[in-house]
């Protein structure tokens, strides 16, 4: 895999000027953000659906401490270990000094205010499908959270993945804003698709990945090995998941499976977030999962 990636980098370098241009970070068109006013109250729902705290709070944080987005959690992968940064509104350690445009480009395009690519461990490939208004609301909400002075730590990523520009090549190949499930039967399932594909980024863990870490869209939500190395992440398509719509919605509210086992590991945190959404949102996610094409 490393060799393949080195080859991709070499191709980009060989491409010279063209490659350099093609891999340049692409920001959102300014018109996409013009005139948007964020509403912090609405932003909380986006924050919960997007699961921001599950990666950006301090490891082991409970209760109110989950709203302190000081970063530091470690995410191992085939490409190195990524460390979640501080995204609290602290002006130096966090993102308090950013503009809304900085934030929107980070979240929806994976581009930093300095014009650098973020690694796709940050699921901007999912958030790219979000409504800009929702991102404006999220930004307004994040600014209400407690600032924290903990400095962000560097990712532990070796060569060649340490060349940020190479992420531009990756984006060229894999960054897309169309839906993974093109057709859904009802408005409810459509809302569920928005929650699951754009905000909830379920596919990041539940969809298997290819050699370059890209999601294998033909096996969308068909389950994958756990990147922590322990166990597997289950298949959510109707090929394997036989729970009823109310079973799924109930699970996302209480964490109980139909057999009254409970969500474990990272999913327990997802349930912690989703349980705070209105009932109709969980029902919508369940309706969407019922409409996902079966895959093994």
């Amino acid at each position: 895999m490393r060799r393949l990636f080195a080859l991709a980098v070499a191709l980009v370098v060989a491409g010279g000027g063209t490659g350099w241009l093609l891999t340049a970070p692409k920001r959102l068109p300014e018109a996409a953000l013009a005139g948007l006013e964020g509403d912090a109250g609405r932003g909380e729902r986006i924050f919960l659906a997007g699961g921001c705290a599950s990666c950006h709070d301090a490891e082991g944080a409970e209760g109110e401490a989950r709203l302190v987005l000081s970063g530091g959690r470690r995410f191992p992968s085939d490409f190195g270990t990524f460390l979640a940064p501080n995204i609290s509104p602290h002006p130096e350690a966090g993102i308090g000094a950013w503009s809304f445009a900085d934030f929107a480009n980070a979240v929806m395009r994976g581009v930093s205010p300095e014009g650098q690519h973020y690694y796709p461990a940050f699921p901007y490939t999912a958030y790219a499908r979000a409504e800009p208004q929702d991102i404006a609301d999220l930004w307004a909400f994040l600014l209400t959270l407690p600032p924290d002075a903990t400095p962000s730590q560097a990712h532990e990523v070796g060569f060649p993945f340490s060349i940020r520009r190479s992420v531009g090549g990756w984006k060229l190949l894999f960054f897309a804003t169309d839906w993974a499930v093109a057709e859904v039967p009802t408005p409810e399932a459509e809302r569920g698709r928005y929650l699951a594909e754009a905000l909830g980024h379920c596919g990041e863990c539940h969809t298997p990945r290819g050699a370059l870490g890209q999601l294998e869209l033909s096996r969308w939500l068909a389950g994958a090995p756990n990147p922590t190395g322990r166990g597997t992440i289950p298949n959510l398509t109707p090929a394997k998941l036989e729970w009823s719509q109310s079973d799924i919605a109930g699970y996302l509210k209480t964490g109980f499976t139909p057999d009254f086992d409970t969500a474990g590991g990272h999913m327990a945190e997802v349930v912690q977030n989703l349980s705070q959404l209105p009932d109709e949102d969980r029902a919508a996610i369940a309706a969407y999962l019922k409409a996902v094409p079966p895959a093994n």
């Binding site: 756990n226 322990r230 166990g231 597997t232 009823s244 109310s246 079973d247 919605a249 109930g250 509210k253 209480t254 964490g255 109980f256 139909p258 057999d259 009254f260 086992d261 409970t262 969500a263 474990g264 590991g265 327990a268 945190e269 349930v271 912690q272 349980s275």
Partner: protein, 155 residues
Amino acid sequence: MKPLIRNALAFAAMASVMAGGALAQSAVEGAIKARKAHMQLQAFNLGPLGAMAKGEMPYDAAQASAAAGNLAALVSMNMGRYFPEGSAQGQAEGTRALPAIWENGEDVMAKVAALNEAVTALNATAGTDLASLQGAMGAVGEACGACHKAYRAPE
């Protein structure tokens, strides 16, 4: 010491170690079986409560009270003997219990206390009406999940 006696003593010592080992092993197996059975009983009593909360079964105050009462009795039981040394995943077969359980006794007890609190609240309101039952179920799920998240290996 005559060789025969020495050998006999050595044999006796070895046999007693082996018997001790076998005994310890069956005690561990028994504890794993018991704690799984306990979880099963809890799940069984959550069954009607969850089905009512999800609207899959009509609300029945008497049934809800009975199940919540059983659950309250189950979570109040002392589980100390369920977790003997040597019964963690990696030390014994057929368990996903993480070794961290034995390292963080205080936190485990805090989580058990939180479960007791959530089930006590459920038991107090499950027989009142459906809304109260639904309201109390979330905290129970969270308390169960908190322990599973920290102390149980994924499948």
